[in-house]
């Protein structure tokens, strides 16, 4: 029988600790033939298993151009992530996916890209950033605004420096007031204010905004003021999921199953959904 809930076994080939409670893990298929068959699009998610604790939903935060492995990133916050935190290289984890829709990277070609992330929301943006940088000619200017509570809360901080070196790419880092260290040389302030100050050109642009609900709530009016259309503002919803394939009913939000029709929505689409996210 075909078991749609059966994960593939993956081998952990790398672990990076980003903050006191955030790690990212590199995994590859134990079965090499599965690697050749596997393909995904940036923005899609997977169900990752720590056997004995359960399964959790994470974005696949590596670029779809990296064929030999995938990465996921998590904050230690519950049973599954507590188990994942203990992983060592060579350990096995389960993976099902890829599921859900993805960023319309082809539609975005020729446009300026504005990426706005808060805290742990960087991983689902990171895959799109790498994808865009790897296809640099196809996109206009890239602006990355990344805010965290304190200077110690940046995820993939080492990659921010690499991105800042790329052509026509600007990185704006900010911490919440009080979160800076004495040697902090970047912005201090909340993301909506920092965006206003940063004078990011908004013509022919799309914005991808991912972060805590409160950040999104106050960032959207700023983008609106900059002149971005609701159809050009994207986000990724974080509804709780169990099956990932539109059966278990959990992620249902008005007319959509976030795992099937989402998780990527435009602001225009969100405006027509009930606030069940």
């Amino acid at each position: 029988m075909n078991n749609i809930y059966m994960p593939e076994l993956m081998e952990v080939i790398g672990i990076q600790q980003h903050t006191a409670d955030v790690k990212s893990v590199k995994i590859r298929f134990q079965d090499p033939t599965a690697t050749d068959k596997f393909a995904f699009r940036v923005g899609q998610f997977g169900m990752f298993s720590a056997f004995g604790a359960g399964e959790s939903t994470f974005n696949i935060c590596s670029s779809s151009n990296w064929k030999d492995h995938i990465e996921f990133c998590f904050r230690k916050t519950g049973m599954v992530t507590e188990h994942l935190w203990q992983l060592d290289e060579g350990d096995a984890v389960g993976f099902r996916g890829p599921y859900g829709n993805s960023y319309p990277m082809e539609e975005w070609e020729g446009k300026n890209l504005i990426f706005i992330g808060g805290g742990i929301a960087m991983p689902p943006i990171r895959c799109a950033i790498w994808y865009a940088l790897e296809n640099r000619d196809k996109y206009g200017s890239i602006s990355i605004v990344y805010g965290a509570r304190t200077a110690a809360d940046f995820v993939f901080a080492d990659e921010l420096d690499q991105w800042a070196q790329a052509e026509r790419t600007r990185v704006v880092r900010c911490v919440d007031p009080g979160g800076e260290t004495p040697d902090w040389k970047y912005e201090v302030g909340l993301i909506p204010h920092v965006i206003e100050r940063a004078n990011i050109p908004a013509d022919n642009s799309i914005a991808l905004v991912i972060g805590p609900p409160i950040m999104i709530k106050f960032t959207l009016p700023v983008l609106d003021k900059m002149g971005l259309d609701a159809r050009d503002i994207y986000t990724s919803l974080e509804n709780r999921m169990k099956c990932g394939v539109g059966k278990c009913g959990r992620c249902n939000c008005g007319p959509v199953y976030v795992c099937k029709e989402g998780p990527i929505f435009t602001l225009d689409q969100l405006n027509r959904l009930p606030l069940d996210y």
């Binding site: 029988m1 078991n3 749609i4 389960g94 709780r240 394939v245 009913g249 007319p255 027509r272 959904l273």
Partner: protein
């Protein structure tokens, strides 16, 4: 002209099925006053009257309340997964109510769209449903309000309509015809079609309210009574939300699918602690919205068969029927904006 079967012949047939190695399930009294769908020992075990409908539903035969979906075992860094190879037993459900049989075409949609859930579909294929039309109904029954009836054929392989001394037999599928081939006689008489409970609302009426009354304060009033126990969903033929959990420890165990329900606080809670449906009013609204608006718009089927089990099993007598009646009574004049988060405060 119709095909008929005597009651004794039907009971003999049930015994023959059991003797032939089939699993036969049907309504049976498990204790005084409690009738549930049960695997029958013999035809005498089958409850033919003395109840309106069983307290549970036949969905458990396709979508069990607990089911292991695979096993895992660890040795050192090596993990091994073993599929829970499902070879479903051939089952005949006899005496199903029309409001139970009707769940199958409804749940087929969600378990088959895009990804096929074989745990459901394989059991579905191995099961034959012999439905007996209702001759009695109570105040909680409302099949006629959701386009079904006491003699609805939806989902059945055979429909038996009670008549004097026996049943009119309507074989609806090849599977059903195979069961009754040569067992029926032709009669001049046909069973009278039972009329059923009075129609209490129309689906259009409800859909209109659900589109327009999203933030209606009536949800708060309804939810004040709700204890959040989910008896409604677990005894509902069509509620199908589930959880996936691990049983065991890191060294070995199984992963299982368990029934779950949108009325539980934890159902939607994010890891961050944020909960999109944080209060019972939002959760009650979700259940009704899902049944009468979301599912119909998505799959073309109402996620309710009007069986009334939700009300009968509710400790505070809440249920789909009286919720919909409360909704209808308050009209559709209140807040019509869906995206204001009115119940959030």
């Amino acid at each position: 002209m119709s095909e008929v079967i005597l009651k004794e012949t039907l009971l003999q047939l049930v015994n023959a099925w059991i003797a032939g190695g089939k699993v036969v399930s049907g309504p049976a009294f498990v204790k005084e006053g409690v009738c549930l769908y049960t695997d029958l020992r013999n035809a005498e075990h089958l409850a033919m009257d003395g109840f309106i409908r069983p307290g549970d539903s036949i969905k458990k035969y396709f979508f069990p309340r607990h089911e292991k979906i695979y096993h895992y075992a660890r040795t050192g860094q090596k993990l091994e997964l073993t599929n829970a190879e499902l070879t479903p037993q051939e089952r005949i459900i006899v005496g199903a109510r029309p409001c139970d049989a009707a769940l199958l075409p409804v749940l087929d949609k969600v378990f088959n769209w895009d990804y096929v859930d074989d745990f459901y579909t394989l059991r579905r294929k191995a099961t034959t449903i012999v439905t007996i039309a209702c001759t009695q109904w109570d105040d909680q029954c409302f099949c006629t309000s959701v386009d079904l009836s006491p003699a609805a054929e939806k989902g059945s392989d055979v429909l038996l309509l009670p008549m004097e001394n026996g049943y009119e037999v309507r074989c609806l599928t090849d599977q059903g015809r195979a069961l009754f081939a040569g067992k029926t006689t032709v009669s001049e008489n046909a069973a009278l079609s039972p009329e059923g409970p009075e129609r209490k609302f129309t689906e259009e009426e409800i859909a209109a309210f659900l589109r327009e009354g999203y933030e209606n304060p009536v949800w708060r009033d309804i939810a004040l009574r709700c204890l959040g126990c989910c008896a409604c969903a677990f005894t509902c033929p069509t509620c199908h939300c589930f959880d996936i959990v691990d049983e065991g420890n890191a060294q070995g165990g199984s992963r299982a699918k368990n029934w779950d329900c949108c009325q539980f606080n934890m159902f939607t809670m994010h890891a961050s602690g944020h909960n999109p449906r944080a209060n019972q009013a939002q959760r009650q609204r979700q259940r009704i919205q899902h049944k009468f608006r979301i599912y119909p718009e998505k799959f073309g089927e109402t996620l309710c068969t009007g069986c009334g089990n939700c009300t009968r099993n509710c400790p505070v007598s809440l249920g789909v029927l009286n919720t919909l009646e409360a909704i209808r009574a308050c009209g559709t004049t209140a807040n019509t904006v869906e995206n204001t988060g009115g119940l959030k405060e």
